[in-house]
C-alpha cells in the first residue's frame, strides 16, 4: 500500500521534473545565476581586498535569489497550469488519490530546484577554486575562511530548506487560485512577510505598544513561515565564524515541519476543490 503510493508519487514527481527542466524560464534564471556568479569575480576585483568574501556573499545571494525566482514562477503554476490546460480531468480520472498528486508535484519541483542549486553551487565552487589558485599565500592567510570552504555547503543546505518551504507555500497558493499572477503575488507577499517575521515575533521589544497588540502581532509573526530564520548563518559561515550543528539541525527541522503544514493545507483545499 505504502509502496504503491510512493511509486505513484515518484511517478508524478518525475513527470514534474521532466516538465520543469524543459521550461524556458528555468534556463533563463539558471543562465542568469551562473553569469552573475561569474560576474562576482569582476565585482570582487573592485573591492580592494575582501574579494573572496564578496564573491561568496554575492554567489550565495545569487543562488538564493535565483532559487526563489525558480520556485515562485514554476511553483505557482504546478497545479493551476493543469487546471488551465484541462489536463487535470485526465489525471483525476486515473486511480491517483489527490493527496498523492499534490505530494508528487511538490517532490518534483523540489527535485528540480535542488538539481539547479547543485549546479549553481558547483559554479560558485569553481569560481572560488579559480580565485584561490591565483592568490598568493599571504593573501590566503588573510581570508577569514578558505576560499573553497566546505562549510559553504551548510549555507547552501539552508537555502535549499528555505526553497523547499517556499515551494510548499507556492504549491498551497497554486491549489486554490486559478490565476498564476495572483498566486505569484500571494507567494511573494508571504515570502516578504516571512522575511520580516523575526521583527514581528519580537514586536513588543521593538516598539512600545499595549501588551495585547504585541501578543497579537507576535502570534502572527510565529504563524508565518519564518524565511528570516535562514539568513544569519550565511554571513557567519562566510566570515569563518562557528555555527552550532544543533542550530542548523533545528532550522532544517523547522523547514521540514512547516513545509508539511503547508502541504497538508494544500491537500485539504485541493481535496475539496471541484472542477467543471
Amino acid at each position: 500500500m505504502i509502496g504503491r503510493s510512493a511509486g505513484r508519487i515518484g511517478l508524478v514527481a518525475w513527470h514534474v521534473f521532466k516538465e520543469s527542466v524543459r521550461d524556458r524560464v528555468l534556463y533563463g534564471i539558471a543562465g542568469f545565476a551562473v553569469l552573475l556568479v561569474a560576474a562576482s569575480i569582476l565585482v570582487g576585483q573592485l573591492t580592494a581586498g575582501e574579494d573572496i568574501k564578496i564573491i561568496k556573499d554575492l554567489g550565495l545571494a545569487t543562488i538564493e535569489l535565483a532559487g526563489v525566482l525558480m520556485t515562485v514562477f514554476i511553483g505557482v503554476g504546478l497545479v493551476s497550469r493543469e487546471i488551465e490546460r484541462r489536463s487535470i480531468f485526465a489525471l483525476l480520472a486515473k486511480p491517483l488519490p489527490r493527496w498523492e498528486f499534490i505530494v508528487g508535484k511538490y517532490g518534483g519541483l523540489v527535485l528540480t530546484i535542488f538539481v539547479n542549486l547543485a549546479a549553481m553551487t558547483a559554479a560558485l565552487y569553481l569560481m572560488l577554486a579559480y580565485m584561490s589558485w591565483g592568490a598568493m599565500e599571504v593573501e590566503r592567510r588573510a581570508w577569514a575562511a578558505p576560499a573553497t570552504d566546505p562549510r559553504l555547503l551548510i549555507a547552501v543546505a539552508l537555502i535549499a530548506a528555505e526553497l523547499a518551504l517556499l515551494t510548499a507555500v507556492a504549491l498551497f497558493f497554486s491549489t486554490f487560485s486559478s490565476s498564476a499572477l495572483l498566486s505569484v503575488a500571494l507567494t511573494v507577499g508571504l515570502f516578504i512577510a516571512g522575511l520580516l517575521s523575526h521583527d514581528l515575533q519580537h514586536f513588543g521589544d521593538i516598539v512600545e505598544v499595549p501588551r495585547s497588540v504585541a501578543t497579537f502581532v507576535a502570534a502572527i509573526g510565529w504563524s508565518l513561515p519564518a524565511f528570516s530564520a535562514f539568513s544569519d548563518v550565511k554571513n557567519l559561515i562566510v566570515q569563518g565564524q562557528p555555527v552550532a550543528g544543533g542550530y542548523v539541525a533545528m532550522t532544517l527541522l523547522y523547514a521540514a515541519i512547516y513545509s508539511m503544514a503547508a502541504i497538508a493545507a494544500a491537500v485539504g483545499i485541493f481535496s475539496r476543490r471541484e472542477f467543471k
Partner: protein
C-alpha cells in the same frame, strides 16, 4: 472519509504542524546564541562607499537604516547578549552619513546612545560624537544644547555643559531661557532644582521624543527626592530604636510611613538590610538614576 471530515483533519494537521514548527524555532532561538554579523556593516561604514552602493536611493537607505537602528535598540534592550548595543553607533553613523540632515537620527540617536546600562549602552562619548557630526552639518542651536544636556545629565561635567549651553544661546533663533540656564549650570550644576528647571523647559519642546525623555527624567528626579526622604526615615528609625529596620514593612508597622513606599511608576522601592540603603527595584520602569545629582 467525507469532504467535511477531510477538511477538518487537514486543518487540524496544519495548525498542529505550524504550532510545532513555531515551537522548534523558539527552542532554537532560546538554545543557541548566534553572534550578530557586524562585517556587513563594515562594508558600508565609509560614507562614500555607501553613497555609491545606494546610487540615488541614499535617503531611502537612510530611512531603512534608521528603522534598523530603532529595532536594534529595542531588541538589545531586552536581550542578555554579551555584545548588545554594539551595532547601535555604527547603524546611527551610517544613517547620518547617508542622510546628513537626518535630525532625528542625530538627536534621538544620541539619547539612545547615552542611556545608562541596562536600558542602554551608557556611551555619552558616542552620543556627543554623533551630535558633533550633526552640528557640523546642521549649525542649529539644538545640537550644542543637546551636547550640553549629555554633559549635564550623563557625564556630570557641569563646566562643559555650561560651555555648550552658552554656545547654544549664542546661535540664531535660540530660545531666551538657555542663557540663564548656562549661568545656573555654571553656578550650581548638579543640583536637582536646576535640572528640574531645564527638564521643565524641555517639556515644551516641539519634538515629541524630547518631551517624552524630559518626562522620564523628571520621574527620576522625583524618585531621587523620595529616596532621600526614605533614607532620612531609616536613619531616624535607627536613632530611635538603636537598630536599622529589617525591611520596609517594619517602617509601616512602626507607623513611620503609612504604606510601603513606591516609586513614580508604582513599583515598591528596594531596601538593602546590610547597607541600609534605599534604591529603585531592579524591575522598576523608572530606569537608571543619575549618579551625581544632589538635592541642593
Amino acid at each position: 472519509m467525507s469532504a467535511g471530515k477531510t477538511t477538518l483533519a487537514t486543518l487540524t494537521v496544519t495548525v498542529v504542524l505550524v504550532g510545532a514548527a513555531a515551537g522548534v524555532l523558539r527552542a532554537r532561538d532560546r538554545g543557541y546564541y548566534l553572534p550578530e554579523p557586524t562585517e556587513r556593516l563594515l562594508y558600508l561604514r565609509s560614507g562614500s562607499t555607501a553613497n555609491r552602493v545606494f546610487l540615488s536611493f541614499d535617503a531611502l537607505a537612510a530611512d531603512i537604516y534608521w528603522i534598523r537602528s530603532i529595532q536594534n535598540y529595542g531588541r538589545d534592550r531586552t536581550s542578555d547578549r554579551p555584545d548588545r548595543f554594539q551595532l547601535l553607533y555604527p547603524l546611527l553613523d551610517l544613517t547620518t552619513t547617508l542622510d546628513p540632515y537626518f535630525n532625528i537620527a542625530y538627536r534621538f540617536g544620541a539619547i539612545l546612545l547615552a542611556v545608562e546600562e541596562p536600558q542602554g549602552p551608557g556611551r555619552p562619548d558616542l552620543a556627543i560624537k554623533l551630535l558633533l557630526k550633526g552640528l557640523e552639518k546642521n549649525p542649529r542651536w539644538q545640537y550644542p544644547y543637546d551636547i550640553g544636556f549629555v554633559h549635564y545629565w550623563y557625564t556630570n561635567d557641569y563646566q562643559e555643559a555650561a560651555r555648550w549651553f552658552e554656545r547654544a544661546a549664542a546661535m540664531p533663533r535660540a530660545p531666551e531661557w538657555i542663557r540663564p540656564l548656562a549661568a545656573i549650570t555654571m553656578a550650581s550644576g548638579g543640583d536637582r532644582q536646576s535640572a528640574r528647571r531645564m527638564l521643565n523647559e524641555l517639556l515644551s519642546s516641539t519634538e515629541q521624543y524630547i518631551r517624552q525623555t524630559a518626562r522620564r527624567d523628571l520621574l527620576k528626579l522625583d524618585a531621587l527626592d523620595t529616596i532621600d526622604r526614605l533614607n532620612a526615615v531609616v536613619e531616624a528609625f535607627n536613632q530611635k530604636n538603636g537598630r536599622y529596620p529589617t525591611d520596609l514593612d517594619e517602617l509601616v508597622r512602626a507607623r513611620v510611613v503609612t504604606s510601603v513606599p513606591v516609586d513614580p511608576t508604582g513599583e515598591p522601592f528596594a531596601y538593602d538590610p546590610i547597607s541600609h540603603a534605599i534604591s529603585l527595584s531592579p524591575t522598576s520602569k523608572v530606569g537608571a538614576l543619575p549618579k551625581k545629582m544632589n538635592a541642593r
